[in-house]
Symmetry: D2
Subunit: 347 residues, 4 copies
C-alpha cells in the first residue's frame, strides 16, 4: 500500500502525543514531519520516552514552518495547536497543497460572530469558514471524504452530539429541555504548567467549572440546531474528575408527547448500527469510560424515566481518542480512502 | 462537662469508621460501646490501625445485642447498619431508654408504601415512622433537638436538598424542571467484597448507575415536596468516580418567570448565613470536593444562565461527613445541647 | 499468512483479559477458543465490554475441557490459571498435541522441592519440570523457539532479572549484596472479591507486603544462581501502590572491586542492544511505569554510587505486559517463527 | 489557658497549609500572623477555601517582614520557606525575641561544608548552626524544649531515622549495609507550576528519582552517624508514587553476628513504648500510609530474614504530618510546655 505522507503540527501536548501514538503505527501513514517549537531538533523518542523503539520514533521535531512542512512532501497535516493560532498555519498549508485536519476550534463554527462571542477575539480567517467541514464521521462521511479542510470536533461536543442528533432529527425530544452533564479527565485541560492542574489539586477532587458558557457550547448548539431544524439552546455542565482521560456524559431531555421508549432505541439503532466506532449498549446500559480509554469508540446507553417523561442518554469516550486524535484519524481514513478502522484497532 | 455515654452499632464499615473517627475525640462523648458481629472481642485499634493510640481505642467490639448495649449505660446509639436491619434494633434500644440516631434508610420516609416501592420489601416497622425526625439540622433543628429517633439523611439527598430547599420554599424555581446530577466517591458504595468495587475496576473509570430510580430518590422527593407544598418529581443521575470520598452535585431548574439572579443569592443567604456547616460560595462559585473531605461542611455555589433561564446549583460535601457521620454528630450535638460545632472542628 | 489457531484457557481475570487484548488483533493469530467456567456460553464482547466490535469478539467462552479445546483445532494454548491448577490441563493439552505457554508458576522452577517450599503444596507434576523452558526471550530465545511447554516468568521476576542477569554473568557485582525493591500496581493481585483490594483500601495507600519470602523469590533466585554460577540468595521487598498496572523495581548491589561504571553500561548494552523490548535509558536514567504501561517494553536505567560502591538498577514494565501477557506473546512469536514484534507494536 | 501567639511564615504551599490546618484549631495557639508575598492582604479563608469558617480564618496574610511579624506580638514563628531563604528571616526573628521552628533544610546540618556539598551553595548563616536543634522529639525532647531555634527534620529522614536509630545505638546492625527505599506522595515535591507534577504526569506513574545523592541524605547520614558513633554512609532510593501524601520506607541492613530477632523488637520497644506518636506494629507488621495520613503518627513494623541475615524495617508516615507540619507542632508542644498531643489528636 502507498502510505500517505503525513505531518503533525504541534505535537508536544497531549493531543499531539495521541496523534503520534496512532499515526506512528498506522499502516497507511508515513509520518514525515512533526513540529514543536520547544522540542525542535530532538527525536520523537527522546521527547516521548513511551515511543522509543517505535517505528519512526527517530524522526526529529522541526519548527512549525509551512515551507519546511511542505518540503517533506506531506500530503496532509494534522494541527494540534491552540485556537487562534491554527487558522493561519492551516491557510498556509492549504495554499501549499496539503489537506488539513485541524483539531483546534478555529474552523468548527460556521458563524464568525459566534466564534467571537465564545472565544473573545475576532475570528482569524472568517473567509475560510465555509470551506471547512465539521468532522463528525458518523454524520458527514461524504463531506469529510471530499474535504480539503476538516475541523475535528471538540471532546465534549462529540460525547453530547452523537447520542442526541438522531433523537433531534426524528423529533423525539423537546430541544428546549436538554441538559447535558459531562465529566472529563484532566488531560482535557492540556499540558500546561498551571497550579490548578497539579496532581495534588486534581486527585481526590471533583468539581464543575466553566458554567454556564463553556466554549464548546457554541459548536454543540450549532450542530444540534442543524439537526433540529431550529435554534437550540441547552445547558452544558462540564466537570473535572481525577482520571487521566475519558469523558462520561449524561444528558436528559423531555420526550415529545407520545414517544415510546422503543422509538429511542430504534432511532439510535438506525443511526449507528453500521457505525464502526459507536457501540450501543441498549436500554439501561451505563457507559463507563474504562471501556473506551485509548480507543476510538463511543459507548452509548440510554434509559427512559416514565415518572418524569425524560430520556437519559449516557455516553462514554476517550477525550483524547474519539474526542480528539482518534476521531481525526477516522476522518483521515475517509479522506484518503482507507479502511475505516485503519490504525484504530486498539483495545 | 458531663460526657454523653454513646454507642455505635455496626461500626465496621466506612460509615461506622467515620463515626468512630469523630466520636473517639468528641469532647462531649464517652464511647461506651461499639458493635460488630465479625469483630466482636477485638479492640477498635486492632481492627482499625488508624485508631491505634487514639483515646478510647482499647475498647473492644461487642455483639449487637440490645441488652448488652443498654448495660453499658449508653444514653444514645448511632446505628450504621443496612436498611431493613436497623429498624428492629432501633426499636429495641428505644424501648431500653436510649435515644437513637439511625444512619440507614429505615426511618427517612414518612410513607411505608414509598419505602416498599423503592426498597423492594415491606417496611419493618411502619408504626415507628411518625416518631422519627428526618435529621437535616439546617431545616429541622428544633425537632431534632427534641427527638428520640433521628433518621440521618442519605449522602446524595443532603447534597441535593440543601441547595434546592430554599429556592422551592420561596417559589423561585419550577419543581417540574429539576435535574440533579451527582458524582460520588467509591466509599459511598460501602465496604463490600464486590468485584465492581475493586481498585482496578473503579480507578480510571467514571459512569452513571442506578438510573432512573436510585433509592435515595424517595427521600429527596419527599423533602422537596414538603418544601414546595406540592408533589415534586425530579431526575436524579448518580455517577461513580474514582475518589475515596466526596460528592459533587450539579442541579439545574427553570427559574420562575421574573425571578432575578439576586433572588437566588438572597434566598440562600437567608437560609444559611447563620448555618455553621454551610459555606456559600456565591454566584459563579464552583464547589470542589477537595475542600470538604473529612469535614462536615457543604459548600454551595450557583450560577444563573440567562440563555436558558435556568439556575445552576453546585454543591460539594463528603459523603461520609456531611453526607453521613458528620451530619449524625451534628444532630447529636443538637439532641444533647452541645456546641453545634463540637467534635466537628476538623479541617 | 497462515494464522496460528490459538486458545486462551482461563480468560476471565486480568491476565486473561490482557491476552485477549493482544491476541484478538495479533496478525498471526486466529483465536479459536477462550475458556472460563463462570462465563461459558457468553461472548467475549459481552463479558468484556471493552472488546465489543473487536474482530473475533463474538467468540463464545467455553468450559476448560481439554478435548473441547483440542477439537477447535488449537495448535497452542495460553494458560492463565492459578498455580496448582495449570499443571494438569497443561499435561492434557500437551498430550493432545498442543504447545503450551503457561503463565502460572507451575513450570517455572526446576526443583519440585523449592516449589513445595514456596507454594506450600507438593508439585502437581514434577516429572514435567525438565521439559519446561523458563520463558525469558532475551535470555533463552532458542530454547523457547523449540519448546513444547514454556513457563512465562512472573511479573516481579522479569523486572528484577533482566537488569541483574548481565551483571552477574560478567561477575560485576557481589550476589550476596543484592536488595531488590519493587512496587506493583493492583492488577498484580488478580481479580478477586477481596476486601483488601477494594478501591478505598488501595487508593491513597502504599505498603510493603509478603516479606521476606514472597513466592516469586523462588524463580528469581533460581535464575540469578544460574547466571552467577553459584547459589544466590537476595532480599526481595514487594510493595503495593495505587496504579492499575506497572511495576517499578530498584535494585542495589555492591560492585566487585575495581569494576567501573562504564563496565555496567557496557554489560547492559552487550546484552540488550539488539533486544526488541528492552530500552536502555543509560546512566542516570530513571525508569517510569507511565512509559511502559500497555506495552511489552521494559525500560532499564542505572546509576553508580561511588560513596557506597553500589550499583543502582532501575527498571519499569507493565506487570500485565512484559510481566505477563506481552511476554507470553513474545514467546509465542518465537515458537511460531513470527516477527518478534508481531502483535506487540502498541504504544 | 494562655495561648501562645504564633506566626507562620510562608503559608501558601503545602507545608504551610498543613501548619494552618493544625494551628488554626490548636487549643494552645493563637495565630497572630501568616505571611505570603503573593497572597498578602487576602484572608486565609479566601486563599484556602477548605479553611472558610474555621476559627481564625479571617486573619489576613501579610508580607514576610520581620518587624511586622514581631509587631503582632508573636512569640514563635514556624518557617515554611525554601532552603537558603529561611536562614535570614530566622535570624531576624530570633533577634526580635521570637523562638523559631524552621521547616526548611537551613539548620538541619551541623557542618556548613556538608550543606554546601548537598545544596550547591554556601550556607547562608553558618555561625547559627551550633545553636539549632535537630527537631526529632523522640530523640531530643529536652534539647528541643529548651531551644530557641529548632530545625524540623525532612520528611524522608524522619521515616528512615526513627526505625534505624535504636538499632544503631545498640549496635545490632552493620551500618555499612543499610539500604533505604522510600516512596513519597506528590505533595512532597511542593506546590510548583511544574509540568512534571501535573496530574496526568504523576497519575498511573511510579519512578525513582534523585539517586544517588538526594539532598535529604545529608541529614540522614549525620543523624545515623551520631547514633552509631562512627561515620555512616547509606544508599537512599526515593520514589514518587501517585498519592497526595504519605511516605512508606522499607530499609534493610545486615544484623550483627548473633543478634536475634527478639533483640530488634526489644530495641524498638525500649525506644518507643512511651512515645506518643510512634506506633509499633511488631514483627511482620507492614506499615501502610493509609493509616497515618493527616496524623502525626509514624507506624513501624519489622521482619528478620534468616536466609539473608537482614532485618527489614517498614515505616509509614504522612510527609506533611510527622514528616513536616505535625512534627513541627510536636516540637512546639515541647518548647512551650504543652500536652505532647495538643493539637495533634486527629484521626
Amino acid at each position: 500500500m502507498n502510505r500517505v505522507k503525513t505531518a503533525i503540527v504541534g505535537a508536544s501536548g497531549y493531543t499531539g502525543m495521541e496523534l503520534l501514538r496512532l499515526l506512528l503505527i498506522h499502516p497507511g501513514v508515513e509520518l514525515v514531519a512533526a513540529t514543536s517549537r520547544q522540542e525542535a531538533g530532538k527525536s520523537l523518542g527522546s521527547v516521548f520516552p513511551r515511543f522509543q523503539k517505535a517505528p519512526g520514533a527517530d524522526l526529529a521535531f522541526i519548527e512549525p514552518n509551512p515551507d519546511a512542512i511542505a518540503a517533506t512532501g506531506a500530503q496532509v497535516a494534522f494541527l494540534a495547536l491552540p485556537h487562534g493560532v491554527a487558522a493561519e498555519i492551516a491557510r498556509a498549508l492549504l495554499d501549499r497543497g496539503l489537506r488539513v485536519i485541524d483539531l483546534s476550534a478555529d474552523f468548527r463554527l460556521r458563524d464568525a460572530a459566534v466564534y467571537q462571542e465564545f472565544y473573545d477575539h475576532p475570528h482569524p480567517a472568517p473567509e475560510m469558514l465555509t470551506q471547512a467541514v465539521y468532522g463528525l464521521p458518523e454524520i458527514r462521511a461524504a463531506e469529510i471524504a471530499a474535504a480539503k479542510l476538516v475541523a475535528a470536533p471538540g471532546c465534549y461536543p462529540t460525547s453530547i452530539l452523537l447520542p442526541l442528533l438522531p433523537l433531534l432529527r426524528e423529533n423525539l425530544i423537546d430541544p428546549a429541555t436538554i441538559v447535558a452533564n459531562s465529566m472529563s479527565g484532566v488531560s482535557g485541560a492540556g499540558k500546561k504548567a498551571d497550579l490548578t492542574l497539579l496532581f495534588c489539586e486534581c486527585n481526590e477532587s471533583a468539581r464543575a467549572y466553566g458554567v454556564p458558557k463553556h466554549r464548546h457550547l457554541s459548536e454543540i448548539e450549532q450542530e444540534l440546531s442543524l439537526a433540529a431544524g431550529e435554534k437550540v439552546t441547552i445547558s452544558f455542565l462540564p466537570h473535572l474528575i481525577p482520571v487521566n482521560s475519558g469523558i462520561v456524559t449524561t444528558t436528559t431531555a423531555k420526550l415529545r408527547s407520545g414517544v415510546s421508549p422503543e422509538a429511542i432505541g430504534a432511532a439510535l439503532d438506525k443511526a449507528y448500527s453500521d457505525a464502526s466506532f459507536v457501540r450501543l449498549l441498549g436500554r439501561g446500559g451505563c457507559a463507563d469510560t474504562k471501556n473506551v480509554t485509548r480507543t476510538n469508540f463511543i459507548d452509548i446507553g440510554w434509559q427512559v424515566d416514565s415518572r418524569t417523561g425524560r430520556v437519559i442518554l449516557m455516553s462514554a469516550e476517550d477525550n483524547l481518542g474519539k474526542g480528539a486524535g482518534g476521531q481525526a484519524v477516522q476522518c483521515f481514513n475517509l479522506m484518503f480512502g482507507m479502511d475505516p478502522t485503519g490504525g484504530l484497532q486498539n483495545f
